[in-house]
Homo-oligomer: 251 residues x 2
DNA sequence: CAACATGTTGTATATTATGCAACATTCAAA
DNA sequence: TTTGAATGTTGCATAATATACAACATGTTG
């Protein structure tokens, strides 16, 4: 069904270009005439999946997308199952707790639970983080073989901070350490001043990985160090891995 | 673009039938053969908007839907603008704070902020509530004229609890009271034992309504009564209505 | 086991998505 | 302001594709 495939490509383009699409832009990327791109986007908007800004004429995500995503979360039991334990973990550590799944060389954030403190480092669900720099990403990569990881990264990973690992070999060494340690660490590799640790789970039936992480600003652990947070995360991991039953905790 | 219109209908059907679609079901509702429905859903799954359960063969929402919805929230500034103040309101009242927009005779929940207490009455964003029974729904209906409301409800509103208003006349009397009071009340009309109050805002430019509500179990106000929550909500409303500037606080 | 649903795939045909062109707007530079 | 280019939309003939029908494999139910 080719016209639907094109619609999917347009939606992917929307996500990748930051949430706004213009007709001309779409026509160029999907190699169709402006006229047909116009008709395509208009149809998507007619259904409510997109909506067109009456002023700028740009297309954005519509309300239907929120409704579909809600049914995703309802079906993806894991998110709801994990919610309470994530809230407990956020309470214990006083920091933001994340849940993410792999998406190519990125991590798709499915849920965030903010800690009790007013200022928290977090994004809304649906955002994607670069896997090589995020703790969740490295925890998920650690579930794969080195060979698979090399195949995934065609180019060298992008540098985001001075701490980011920018070569695949360097990344693989870090991931080997992650496997030994049992948890992944991102020390300011994604954002300056922010550390995060993460454990990865694997659902053998769906052959899908899930990661849970805790992120925290450096200054918050000046006195206590990382250990209390690591302990809390590992305790969470043991409880979560067994409680879910058919979801196996791998690391 | 007819095939895209059909895809939109299928997605709408997915949402309305609770998050799972079967090929046969789709073919019947959209009046197409099973073969073509199979091809349609397979295309949507190829793009990641849906995914097919390998065991049951049923189609569910896919990861792309979460990504699109995220870009919706990013663009719909209001949700992000409101987040901090909603968190403050949840802290003050110690109850769940909701943000919703109208969707026919229902309210689409765009955001929930849970109160600090462990057990909270809340749903995930994307769910829809019946407008005639939810406080947010009545706050939003109060922005419309009685004539518009009558046109919206073709049949009598559905009964959900013993308190639900099940005739349009009864509902209109309640909404008239809402307009006078400045806020809407749902006293166990949606769920037994749960009250909620709500105020509605209107964005004159987008000609779109937005409601904020606080929900709380009856037992939690045995000593204090509703007034503290009402005061907090109205203070929020003044702040929110003026702070946004171009969004007018209507009630 | 039989009768029945269900999901998928192949093929000829008829519907439809496409390319091209024209038009109205918008925007930037002259 | 004027000119020129870029943008979004619509109409139309044609080529591409979505469709109906059928057959098949695989559960499901009586």
């Amino acid at each position: 069904m080719k016209s639907i495939d094109k619609a999917m490509s347009a939606l992917r383009l929307l996500v990748d270009s930051g949430g706004e699409l213009r007709v001309g832009e779409t026509s160029r990327h999907l190699k169709m005439t402006r006229g047909n791109a116009s008709r395509l986007l208009a149809s998507l908007a007619r259904g409510g999946l997109l909506e067109q800004d009456p002023v700028t004429q740009r297309y954005r995500a519509g309300i239907l997308s929120v409704e579909i995503a809600a049914s995703f979360h309802r079906n993806f039991d894991l998110v709801e199952e994990a919610r309470k334990e994530m809230e407990e973990l956020a309470r214990q550590t006083e920091h933001t707790v994340w849940l993410g799944v792999p998406s190519g060389t990125e991590v798709l954030v499915l849920k965030t639970v903010r800690g009790p403190q007013p200022i928290q480092f977090a994004v809304e669900p649906g955002h994607r983080l670069p896997a090589h720099a995020a703790a969740m990403g490295k925890a998920l990569l650690a579930l794969k073989s080195d060979q698979e990881i090399r195949a995934l990264f065609s180019a060298d990973p992008e540098s985001l901070t001075t701490q980011t690992k920018t070569s695949i070999d360097e990344l693989l060494r870090d991931i080997a350490m992650t496997r030994m340690r049992g948890y992944a660490v991102s020390n300011q590799e994604l954002f300056e001043g922010v550390k995060a640790i993460s454990v990865g789970f694997e659902d053998p039936q769906k052959s899908m990985g899930v990661a849970i992480s805790v992120s925290y600003p450096l200054f918050s652990i000046e006195k206590t160090g990382d250990q209390p947070i690591i302990d809390a995360l590992l305790m969470f991991a043991r409880s979560f891995g067994t409680r879910i039953g058919d979801k196996r905790w791998v690391l």
